[in-house]
Symmetry: C2
Subunit: 311 residues, 2 copies
Amino acid sequence: MRVVVALGGNALLQRGQPLTAENQRINARTACRALAPLALEHELVVSHGNGPQVGLLALEAAAYTEVEPYPLDVLGAQTEGMIGYILQQELGNELPFDKRLASLLTLVEVDADDPAFENPTKPVGPMYTRDDADAATGKGWTFKPDGDGYRRVVPSPVPQRIFGLEPLEWLLDRGCVVVCAGGGGIPVMYVDEAVPAGRRLVGVEAVIDKDLASALLAIDLHADALVIATDVDAVYADWGTPEQRAIRRAAPAELEATAFAEGSMGPKVCAACMFAERTGGAAAIGSITEIEALLRGEAGTTIALAEVQAT
Amino acid sequence: MRVVVALGGNALLQRGQPLTAENQRINARTACRALAPLALEHELVVSHGNGPQVGLLALEAAAYTEVEPYPLDVLGAQTEGMIGYILQQELGNELPFDKRLASLLTLVEVDADDPAFENPTKPVGPMYTRDDADAATGKGWTFKPDGDGYRRVVPSPVPQRIFGLEPLEWLLDRGCVVVCAGGGGIPVMYVDEAVPAGRRLVGVEAVIDKDLASALLAIDLHADALVIATDVDAVYADWGTPEQRAIRRAAPAELEATAFAEGSMGPKVCAACMFAERTGGAAAIGSITEIEALLRGEAGTTIALAEVQAT
């Protein structure tokens, strides 16, 4: 079976934890311990989020005034390096020495006309107080309320095309575990300039949603299953109300009427539905620690077509 | 022919240029334009330095005081992401669309007892004035004189083993250009702790010399040639004196008596000699813009065994 597992930024960092390297390593270790059995049994592709991390790198870059801060595509690439390294190292430690692993940088095409550029929704970096958010708007950053505070939000265009699928396939065919498409991939787009490749590919100031990118990746790779691992144990209906209840199994059509939080559960449900609809396979959303049960449909929320559901 | 090209940090940034993303992209574009013909004719592996970049990320991290700065292995991984992305993108633009490229994160084992940990020599980051260097020693950083100023120096242990050679071979076998071992690779070492892999692999606070790592990579990959591209056109004898002269061709033994600058030309010559001695192949040192002539032994400095030299 070919499985794509998307690790939430929150699977790498618990809510409210300081974003130290050590905290990320400890959480990555827990995640990788849970992933290791899958790596031995299945063809495994691991993607990951980068919201807290890319926001931190932007803050660090802004704090050092000698060099102009790098654009979000370059910062995103930095997070692919950093998180890919930690995951590859920790997953390697949890697997027999002869199991091969590779981390690939992934470029993902977005549409220059995507409405996301006019309406930033993707939260990055830490929580801000109102005063801190007001002060930071001077950097040209946009903030939106999130829980008890504010978070910086950036454009999150829809991923249109994952580059580099063939090298990824070649590695999977050899039994290699691949970490890729980190942070939803590095956002790029074409501009009209004649180069040997045809048109020139350039970076884009955005952060692609990692769940949508992972779903596209899973579809393109003809994966049998997509698992979206996060810090809640399932998708909930009426979340945050006295009536909240975990959804154990649903068809995409059943979830369409439900509103889930933008930049949080919303993209996860949307990504899972997209995978289920386009492939007929099952997508699961739930806790990383229950990943084997998730894959068997025995924990979390399984999203699959009604036909599949009936079997 | 299988060729490993090591791009100097200075092939990505001209001396004295501010380390902006734009400057790196412009220099990367020039380098990639020169590399493109090689990618079409040979099996090509591209490695790169990260001295200026890893130093900048350390400065940025130190400037933002809310989160403890990340260790050098994590910062090195960030530079692999950032520079690997820029190189892959710009090289892709210079090649036909159907030419495949991949950027792999590379972990490199070092020895915990390497004397480099007691004697840091690898320059990272920008030039400092004496006063700025004095002020920054408060961060626990070490500085050494370099040209007219000072630079931060960090431990640069000898690379002992490149991890991930098999995935790299699989990609090369398919005609894929691979960017890897950036910044000399991410330094790691084993510690005695039982894990499924045997012993636990952990990160190390160091920056491996990219020329030595590239030579080891070229040896392990059974490359036919190693090209070390930098911002000078050749290795010079008596550099900086009225008697300075370019060395056009030399056997490793002939260079052993000559002293070259630590952290600069020294490791390049050492790496080229190591490759020539261990493989019988030729290593070339010179300007990225002359790379095709370098590979033919018609520009720069070619280092090869005397027997090879005579043919």
